[in-house]
Symmetry: C2
Subunit: 581 residues, 2 copies
């Protein structure tokens, strides 16, 4: 194995030998800033997943190291993310009580299974599979998931107990009917946290800039919003003992110490139950991760290897499963922060992991009085970014079928749930694509003046010969559109008895499958029965190679294959043009 091949399998070998002090400076600063973001985010997302807060921290240590060793992206920041956490919650919610031992074991198992699936897909080079989720489907899915996530936090923001439901309407109805139970102190803390987060999000960067900080460092400091909210609200709860006096729900005891070693319980019944959800978590997580990795890599003209990413994320998830964590992936905003804060190698991730480990060992007692409402506010602000009307507006103006699949996915997620919703969306977008290709655009063409150019007779003023029908098909020919092609062509011929020749212009036909080949043969026969000769023109090289291999020209009988439409017109038109007689 050459050094280059080895570097592809273990990308750390590419960057570690040339590692410099300057690189460490960038990676160190980025690692620190991401750690500051990740401590509150990790706990918040664990809460969203229905897990104890320390699970979110555990999932932010070993997985980062594993990704750092194997990942092909230089700036991806791995860890818990919102949508995957929601998917974990919906999956395990049907299985066990949140917080129970079974629930925890299920989370570990989900991490293990989705890790194994990612690893398997990477080794089988199945990375292309995720391409079948179209952008509108992903957009509709993200918007709907953001709404579901946001409303799932209502209970923490208001301090009332709302049963879990993927139906937003149910959640709202429950909140409204139990409005008397709202905890005033909780809602005040939530409001304050939201205010801090939004302030940091919108203003602090400009403010720090005005105070003379550099753009990069002021941007980075602005990301400390969650940390500031956590510190401020924890302090207030502790000072006024709001947990005891005002019933504010707090994080309370977080076990100190490094993550425990856990082994996924290899219970076949449980595996079978969790496998479909684990596959979806793997795919959705990979999709989020690889899209951010690609966008960052291209900024530095670097490459992302989708299959290597699958392997790295697979290892990261298996790492999470053996250290008491839950499914992780590359997060969008966190990776962007990592990149802009100066990360040049995965060393940044390893530094983040070390800092989180230090936090888990030393600082968890400081988080005892952290109110859950603050974590909920962090989630709400984070997912608000996912609500994406812009894509809908763009798709609506560009292509209604795309807009339809976006809206259908959005509604399916809200009414049928996250997992069925994304499957419905993916199936619909594929169906719409097949529907479109099954009815190809076909233009009858004529000659523009005395030129060699041929154009659509409906759009241009062209010359035609009544005995020669020339039709351009703007699609590859395959089983789903052969019947349409046949009906259209036979229909035109049946309507116009003066036609003697039909020329099929194949300039836009990239492929002809076996069904379409049959159809062309049958078509030639049926046209011959009706006294019409079928010809082809402008057949592409690779398509012609295949047709020649099976002796297709024999099926054409008296018909010919012309190099250009002009050749066909000269030959067939002259023979039947009344003026030539």
């Amino acid at each position: 194995m050459t050094a280059q091949n080895l570097g592809r399998v273990l990308p750390i070998l590419d960057w570690l030998p040339g590692y410099s002090r300057a690189m460490l400076a960038g990676d160190g600063m980025a690692g620190l800033i991401v750690a500051i973001m990740l401590v509150p985010q990790g706990m918040a997302y664990a809460l969203l997943a229905g897990l104890p807060p320390e699970v979110g921290l555990y999932a932010s240590i070993v997985p980062l190291v594993f990704y750092g060793l194997l990942g092909s992206s230089r700036a991806l920041a791995v860890g818990p993310v919102a949508i995957v956490s929601l998917m974990v919650a919906t999956t395990l919610g049907e299985l066990a009580e949140a917080g129970s031992a079974g629930y925890l074991a299920g989370a570990v198992m989900l991490a293990f299974l989705s890790g194994a699936i990612l690893l398997g897909m990477g080794l089988a080079r199945l990375g292309f599979l995720v391409n079948f989720l179209s952008h509108p489907v992903i957009s509709g899915f993200s918007s709907a998931a953001a709404l579901v996530i946001g409303f799932s936090q209502l209970k923490h923001l208001l301090g009332i107990d709302i049963p879990r439901s993927h139906l937003i309407t149910e959640t709202i109805a429950h909140a409204v009917t139990h409005i008397g139970q709202i905890n005033p102190a909780t809602i005040a803390i939530a409001a304050a946290s939201l205010a801090i987060l939004l302030l940091f999000k919108s203003r602090i960067s400009a403010l720090l800039g005005a105070m003379g900080f550099g753009a990069a460092s002021s941007d980075s400091l602005a990301k400390a919003g969650p940390l500031v909210a956590v510190l401020a609200t924890t302090l207030v709860v502790w000072l006024f003992a709001l947990d005891r006096t005002a019933g504010v729900a707090i994080v309370a005891d977080i076990p100190a110490g490094l993550p425990p070693l856990t082994l996924p319980n290899l219970d076949m019944g449980l595996i079978e139950q969790l496998l479909p959800a684990a596959a979806l978590i793997a795919v959705v997580g990979f999709l989020e991760s690889v899209s951010v990795a690609k966008s960052l890599a291209s900024k530095r003209r670097q490459k992302i290897d989708a299959n290597q990413e699958l392997i790295a994320l697979g290892a990261a998830n298996i790492g999470a499963s053996v250290t008491g964590g839950y499914p992780v992936t590359g997060g969008f905003s966190r990776s962007l922060v990592n990149f802009t804060a100066g990360a040049v190698t995965p060393m940044a991730s390893i530094i983040t992991a070390v800092l989180i480990a230090v936090t888990v060992v030393l600082f968890t007692p400081l988080l005892y009085f952290l109110p859950k409402a603050t974590l909920a506010a962090i989630i709400v602000v984070a997912v608000a970014n996912l609500i994406d009307l812009q894509t809908l507006r763009a798709a609506w103006g560009y292509n209604k079928a795309d807009a339809a699949s976006l809206i259908a996915t959005f509604l399916a997620v809200l009414t049928l749930g996250v997992e069925i919703g994304i499957l419905v969306g993916a199936a619909l977008s594929i169906a719409l694509y097949l529907w479109r290709t099954s009815r190809p655009h076909m233009a009858e063409v004529g000659r523009v003046g005395e030129t060699e150019h041929f154009r659509n007779i409906l759009r241009h003023d062209v010359q035609t010969d009544p005995a020669v029908l020339m039709v351009r098909v703007d699609e590859s020919l395959y089983f789903a559109n052969t019947a349409f092609l046949e009906d259209q062509l036979l229909g035109r011929v049946a309507d116009r008895p003066e036609i003697d020749h039909l020329v099929l212009i194949m300039s836009a036909v990239n492929f002809i499958d076996a069904s379409a080949l049959d159809t062309l043969e049958t078509l030639a026969e049926r046209l011959a029965d009706a006294g019409v000769t079928l010809h082809l023109a402008e057949v592409k090289g690779p398509v012609m190679d295949r047709l020649k291999r099976v002796g297709f020209t024999k099926s054409l009988g008296a018909g010919r294959v012309f190099l250009s439409t002009h050749d066909a017109m000269c030959d067939l038109g002259a023979a039947t043009d009344p003026k030539a007689a």
Copy 2:
């Protein structure tokens, strides 16, 4: 409503007013010959479906009249067919004991449901849906179904009781282990029937021709093989009382009289249970029917309206369900006989129906001693035609993906059953199509000599400019291939730092969906980040219209849209060509 529109809805109005004595002669002869074929076939297929023989006759009366009134084909012969009968048997076999009242009620319900589905599809104009079954899938399905049907008759041919199974291996194993139970008289009758049928199939036509009969009438007489086999074996069984003395299974009592009026039992539980199978029966039946109708129509330059066919077949099946029948469709060989025997209008079908009605009223006592082995032999000979190795050979030589979906469908039908098998095949052929379009052919092109022609640099000796990369994409751009496109292009640019311009040649791009539009925008941005300008060339009219509508050219930044590749080369090549400096 104009007369023409009315004629489209009720095609009988098109032909009845101009009906002539000459037409009656042709239709009368065709109607008689089809009736002679249909009496034994109808009973045989009913046996295959696990139903009493009279059900096959009932299904050959009213459905033919209904199709005659509504169908758009002039020569289609509707009635029981082999594959649909097999599907009825597998569906009802899981539901009730063959021959029981529940089984009969299920058959009536299947006819009603598939009729309603066909009618609904016709009214909703969903005829295009059947196009998604590719020819190789249909071929694999038919071959496997023919094997399953053939082996299902083994029990009647050998006279032993073999439990129903879709696994041929099980059927054979049972026959072999119970070889001692074979009934010698039964096997002798089966052999004699097969001999008569094969003789008529292969020789009689030539023999009659040699005896001075015209080609058409000798062909038609050759189709009387089943009738001759039925008469000969019935006579032998009656003469020697083989039913009592040698244990030959006979058809026995067939109730005389017209079909009973039956009303499908609207039991929601039963409907829900039968609905998926009814949908598949409807689709498969429609497919068989419409393909034969089309092939006959084109011989006379007539048109088939797929949606009108759905309505007519829907009515025919509902007709079957209210007169004690079971699902019917247009049969291949029977329609061909009808056509060649001289049928010019659906009057031929109506005549067939009248003759079958007369048979049911008057001649059923004559069929008392008809041995089941003869009917089984008729089935075996009929389905042998369905075994289709030619399509496999052709597909193998032309396109391996098509051959793979044929083989997969064949194996899936044999191992998983008829219904799951065809679904597996359809899904696989769609997946293979998507896989192919997700990895489009992309060619880097260069200029041929000093011409305006540009060709693949790997295939031709062409001129290129190291600073200008020109790539032609041979596929429409949509969500499943955008990632591939992006990876390929960014990969080539990352490998060759000398590139300043990337020209995407769009002559074969018939469509760009919203995901691909996003990708092109991102690509332009990422290329710009890497110091490369993206240009387009040869964008098609309809594609350019859409791009203009959303102001795509702005996303190109400094990039331009060139009318031709030659324009792009002149402009970009000259600006960066070292020789020009």
